[in-house]
Amino acid sequence: MEPVIGIDLGTTNSVVATVQAGTPVVIPNRSGYRLTPSVVAIAKNGKRLVGALARRQSVTNAERTVVSIKRLMGRKWSSRTTQEALTRLSYEVVPHDKERDDFLVKLGPESFSAPEISAMILAELRLDAEAYLGQPVSKAVITVPAYFNDMQRTATKDAGRIAGLEVVRIINEPTSASLAYGFNRQVGEKQICVFDLGGGTFDFTILHMYKGVFEVEATGGDTVLGGDDFDARIVDWLAEPFKAKQGIDLRKDKMSLQRLRDAAEKAKCELSSVKQVEVNLPFIAQSPTAGPLHLQAVLTRSDLESVTKDLVDRCLQVCEQVMGEAKVKPNAFGEVLLVGGQTRMPRIQEAVKSLFGRDPSKSVNPDEAVALGAAIQGAMLLHQEQEMLLLDVTPHSLGIAIAGGFFQSIIPKNTTVPTSAHHVFTTVKDDQTSAKITVLQGESEIAAQNELLGEFMMTGLRKAKRGEVDIDVIFDISADGIVSVSAIDVQTGLRQSITVTASSGLTEEEIAVAAKANEEWMLGQKEPPEWPARKEKAEQLFKQFEELWPRLENAAANGLGMEPLQRAKAAISVAKLQVANKESEGLAASVDRLERMLGALKGALERGLTSPRGGGQ
């Protein structure tokens, strides 16, 4: 059966999982860790680094290290979110195509789109999964925050394609976590909610579970509220007094900003278990007069709580709004699930407890539940192993721009997907041959305040008097939450061609080019197929030599001589080095040599300590 993996592509960390023999498991990366930092860097020597390696060098190579790319996925260059994010980035982002209003991330001599950066993380996770499963992996379910709009979802799907993955489904993180919770749990009927505060986004989702069917009732969130914001508050808390005292803004220097940020995150995590931490950053800056400057501060849990109070309040407001939309009371839930690393913060757990009047569930791991759920969804779809079904909803209203710059909703938010809706357009001029439809997603009545998904041009309309041509435009939202538009001439039943005239997404061609580049990179990373067998053979030989060694030493003392032993020893150490460096070809030769030596030495022992045949004295 072809494996399918579930990927939680997080803002700060990513996790990959699969379902093995009916059990969902997290796949450790090739360094043995279950979490892979969502960090990508191009090292000074031009090598691509992903994960912990990239993170480790981020201080010394801040300008060529990309963190939190998820925040920029599917965004437009001119959007407020992008422009705000720019002020906090240590890497360079430049506008790209004016028409598409997109941007590129500059890493040394090269530039990459946001999906390409995400694809690097996905490719790494794919390699981890292939190493773990011992077979190629090409199918994946990737999670996104429930509140992601169509463009962000499409960008994520594109990233998957660039990484050479067939993205079976994009699913929402909180829903995914609930699948992990509901898996193999005999819950008859239960209403649950998921409070998901990750590195960059916040989602609140209400679900109803009944006999393995998971129905999302309502979902809402904030795509720019997450652990990163908590870190930023600590960074400010550290940098402001320093600026006041020394006149130097540490946030202006990329290297010191990266150090501050690392220290802030570390302090924040520690404050989940202790009441206060000391932040110590020696040589953080250079004063023109006083020489090197150091930063030293003590941060208490209550300091942290007071500088992040409004962030916690924002989360609670979202919860109340979503509960209001779903007409559900806070005490109605049979279970409250916490997902995302930031929910480890004691203040958040207290706030959740007091809002819902119950202790949050401890039965799911906040870091791993999302990836596990994605793996379960993959198995549900492709292997039909589980008797489970997911009914998800679209998080935003979908509609069109109408006269006067207003927005007309066609598919309201929280509608179960897949869904579709029609809208009939009529020509307004005689012999009108084309018409433009502007498709938007959002909740504002003003068209311009919603997210523009694209402009669609219907061309080749039949010539007729105005008002005589009716075009039925069909809007489809797939089970992934991705939108497609088609149109039919009502009178003739002919399908109209529709072309996208404005979209911030990548073109098919760009995806193909990026996918090919990635494929080449992966080939360079991959071990040749015979490597695992070769490595295993070598390790068996090491063991056999080890077991034989006392007898050989004995034989050496009794006439065999030390020389064959020394030669074996040297060959073994060469082979061990080749194992460590993954030198497949070299190891093949070593294995041959070691096998011959072992045979000869064994023969010598049997024949009674005479000089080994073929040992070449």
Binding site: E189, H208, G212, E215, L381, Q384, L389, T415, S420
Partner: protein
């Protein structure tokens, strides 16, 4: 009949034949179906049943349930069926929308359904008031006063039940039980009334089924009969009705399932279910099974002409 099955089989789709037939039928009739009929529930079903019916049906109609299968020409139908299902649920799952829909649809509903809708509306208002009152009393009473209050509520409930106000009686008894959970007669009366309510719902569904059958609206009739059988697993009429309508609609597999269930709960001397089962088996090509069923019919009614003729054929 045979030719209908042949057509369905020629569809080039991996979906089970029964579902393909169901989808075609549903597509033909869905415009005329009420939201209640789409979900296969009675117009007085409560919110929980609406949701359960929807989730239960989603397992069958959601495209993900058939992910990776070649749906062929049935793909769009499946998607349409699911969307129709979720539209109906969206309306009936929301009390406000449902009230609005009931009002609008009142003209189109038959007398029974309209009565049920009206009854539900009134009983809901009544229930809410009762509950509120019960709670208020509960808050006020303490210690022995609670037991006295419970006794009063119990007596009220008994007289309500005698007046035929079952919904109110049940709500009152529930409040009484909260006040005094250890009093056995409260729990007993409650259980009795709930059983009666269940039987009434089953009767309602049966009636609904017969009406649809008369009008030739087979999918709705099947759904209603099946529901009667689901509410009351001993309902011979429900199972038989579902089997009869399914057979008439060409859903032979379904007909045989229901007929077999009907035969299990058939009253002594009643062999309609077996005859139907026999016919279904003939259609499905299970000659031995058909022979067995028909022989059983004849052993009860030796001069049953139709059974004899069919037996001769196989």
């Amino acid at each position: 009949m045979g030719s209908v099955l042949q057509n369905a089989r020629g569809g080039g789709s991996d979906l089970p034949e029964e579902l393909r037939k169901e989808l075609t039928d549903f597509d033909k009739r869905s415009r005329g179906l009420s939201h209640y009929e789409v979900l296969g529930i009675a117009p007085d079903a409560d919110g929980g049943s609406v949701r359960r019916a929807y989730l239960e049906r989603s397992r069958r109609y959601h495209p993900d349930a058939w992910y990776g299968k070649n749906l062929g020409e049935y793909g769009p139908l499946l998607s349409k069926a699911f969307q129709r299902l979720s539209t109906s649920y969206q309306v009936l799952g929301d009390e406000d929308l449902r009230a609005q829909y009931d009002k609008q649809a009142a003209a189109k509903l038959n007398a029974t359904d309209r009565a049920a809708v009206e009854k539900r509306k009134l009983s809901r208002e009544e229930e809410e008031r009762r509950h509120r009152e019960g709670r208020e009393r509960l808050l006020r009473s303490k210690g022995f006063a609670r037991i006295a209050a419970a006794r009063q509520l119990y007596q009220d409930a008994v007289s309500m039940a005698e007046n035929g106000e079952r919904a109110r009686a049940i709500a009152t008894l529930q409040a009484a039980r909260e006040l005094d959970p250890r009093r056995p007669e409260i729990a007993e009366k409650l259980a009795q009334l709930e059983l009666e309510a269940q039987k009434a719902r089953a009767r309602f569904a049966l009636q609904n089924g017969r009406e649809h059958e008369e009008r030739g609206e087979m999918p709705a009739a099947i759904a209603a009969f099946a529901q009667a059988f689901q509410i009351d697993p001993k309902s011979y009429d429900g199972a038989l009705g579902a089997a009869r309508c399914a057979f008439a609609a060409g859903e032979v597999q379904k007909a045989s399932t229901f007929a077999a269930k009907a035969a299990e709960v058939a009253p002594q001397g009643e062999s309609e279910a077996r005859l139907l089962l026999g016919k279904a088996f003939i259609e499905l090509g299970f000659k031995n099974k058909a022979r067995h069923e028909l022989t059983l019919v004849l052993s009860q009614h030796p001069d049953h002409k139709e059974a004899r003729a069919l037996l001769k054929r196989v």
